[in-house]
């Protein structure tokens, strides 16, 4: 599974929500095999404010058209610059990086995503479906504006929605969604989103005796295990999120079991 540096060409830049952009990019040579949960390190073209590359999950891969997509939430200078790029722009990316979700699971599986954590789940859902799985997918956000790519998810999964303000789906945090009452019926939960949400999902999964994998975000300088800046505390010591993650089984993460921390972090979806 070797990594490539590609000058991708942006074929399409659509805006599925006020703060989100999907960049569909053509690769200059045959796409390498990518796994759901892996990510890319993308250079922000000629930006004064983004010195380092920015990591983004692989949102979708279309081997037939040789395209790779990213779902990007506008949060700072780097992402805003990327969101404004016109089609035809060259985007330099290093990928596929990191380890993805474990795909050797019994079904049914529940995918849980919040905010830009939705990004890797589409590729994951599609891959699981391709392998014959029944996929359930719970997407949450502050408001309806954060729920993007729903039509795409509906094509591949049973979709459940929740918003904090009740503007779409059930009202509340993802862990308050009714599907969580049936959690014990799932064999595994795959989650990606803000840390507070992930911790709440991890705790609920533990309580229901369901195995849970989360994709972590983190400050990264290199994305390839060279700088050791992106560590997370695991039971085996500090580990690089970029090479040994970004997907971790929550059982391996240190400090992810205390209900107190979860309570502190929960509202920060």
């Amino acid at each position: 599974m070797s990594k490539v540096i590609h000058d991708l060409i942006i074929l399409e830049n659509r805006q599925p929500g006020p703060e989100y952009h999907v960049l569909v990019c053509k690769a200059p040579e045959t796409l390498p095999v990518c796994y759901p949960g892996q990510f890319a390190e993308v250079a922000v073209p000629s930006s004064t404010h983004a010195f380092l590359r920015r990591p983004f999950s692989i949102h979708n891969v279309d081997y037939q058209n040789n395209t790779i997509s990213f779902l990007i939430k506008m949060v700072g200078q780097g992402t805003r610059t990327l969101g404004q790029l016109p089609t035809g722009t060259v985007l330099n990316a290093i990928y596929p990086l990191g380890k993805g979700f474990s795909l050797n699971q019994a079904e049914p599986v529940l995918l849980v995503g919040g905010g830009c954590g939705i990004a890797p789940l589409l590729f994951l859902a599609k891959t699981l479906k391709l392998n014959g799985y029944t996929v359930h997918c719970l997407l949450g956000g502050r408001s309806a504006d954060d729920l993007v790519e729903i039509p795409e998810f509906r094509e591949t999964a049973e979709v459940y929605l929740t918003t904090e303000d009740g503007t779409q789906g059930e009202k509340g945090f993802v862990t308050q969604h009714s599907i969580f009452r049936e959690l014990a019926g799932f064999t595994r939960v795959f989650a990606c989103g803000p840390e507070g949400m992930l911790r709440a999902v991890a705790l609920a999964s533990r309580a229901a005796g369901v195995s849970c994998e989360v994709s972590l975000e983190n400050n990264m300088a290199c994305g390839i295990g060279a700088c050791l800046c992106c560590v997370v505390e695991t039971r085996k010591g500090n580990r690089c999120v970029c090479t040994e993650g970004p997907v971790f089984n929550v059982l391996d993460l240190k400090g992810w079991e205390s209900p107190q921390e979860v309570a502190d972090n929960c509202p920060v979806i």
């Binding site: 070797s2 990594k3 490539v4 540096i5 250079a43 983004a50 010195f51 380092l52 590359r53 290093i94 983190n218 400050n219 990264m220 300088a221 290199c222 994305g223 390839i224 295990g225 060279a226 700088c227 050791l228 800046c229 992106c230 560590v231 997370v232 505390e233 010591g237 500090n238």
Partner: protein, 301 residues
Amino acid sequence: MPDLSTTLHQLSLKNPVMTASGTFGYGKEFSDFIDLASLGGIIVKATTSEPREGNPYPRMAETASGMLNSVGLQNKGLDYFVKHIYPELQQINTHIIANVSGSTIEGYVEVAEKMAGLDHITAIELNISCPNVKQGGMAFGTSVTSALEVTRAVRKVYPKTLIVKLSPNVTSIVDIARAVADGGADVLSLINTLLAMAIDAEKRRPVLSTVTGGLSGPAVKPVALRMVWQVSKAVKLPVIGIGGICNATDAIEFFLAGASAIQVGTANFINPRVTTDIIKGIEDYLLRHNLQTVRELVGSI
């Protein structure tokens, strides 16, 4: 074809482009992108006598044309290095240089002594300039007496090429360079990172878990160039230039300032192929300027 080879004491390098410690892992992280054997040398990440977990997360902050890190010498320790990492390094057909770190003189000496026994490690770089550890590290590199002392102690046990890496966080880099030369260093490398800090104005707290960290990248290049120029004029040892090098032009500037070779650090994160580009760019420059060897440039301003 111009001749890119250069010499650092007993080391003959095929070209003057090396990678800086802590920014290139153990090389293999980059093997998908470049041919490691094409490099002049690889300075692998810091090794300490005992394993170290490094500092807590967050350890990185982006700054204007630069970054801060406070990794804190995370590594699996000397024994693990010898048993598990060294055999892999032996496969790489270029100079492999160990970056030797510690918090006590005994620690430095222990690592240096063990490294001396490893054939494929052709030199060590004594890191007396890491700003990210509580004890030792930069403390050794910011005082003339302790810089001299640690160099002398390591010299006693290390017969091969001894490079000492200087800290820029000093009033007079020349005084430290002279002390290290007196202590028996064969080569000087500079600069390590500048002690610096980042604050998150929204969260109203320091970005790094350690509050301060080390600044690297293009932002520091002008300071690094000045120090390389000062040291190479004042001290007769060969100098390796480090700090913010991103392209062949940057590298040439360091040669002109007096460096016999250079190390590329942070730029590897932005472009994992940058070292290959730099080697090619130096060749082009020499051709364009009608120069036969890179050595003609060294200190020629």
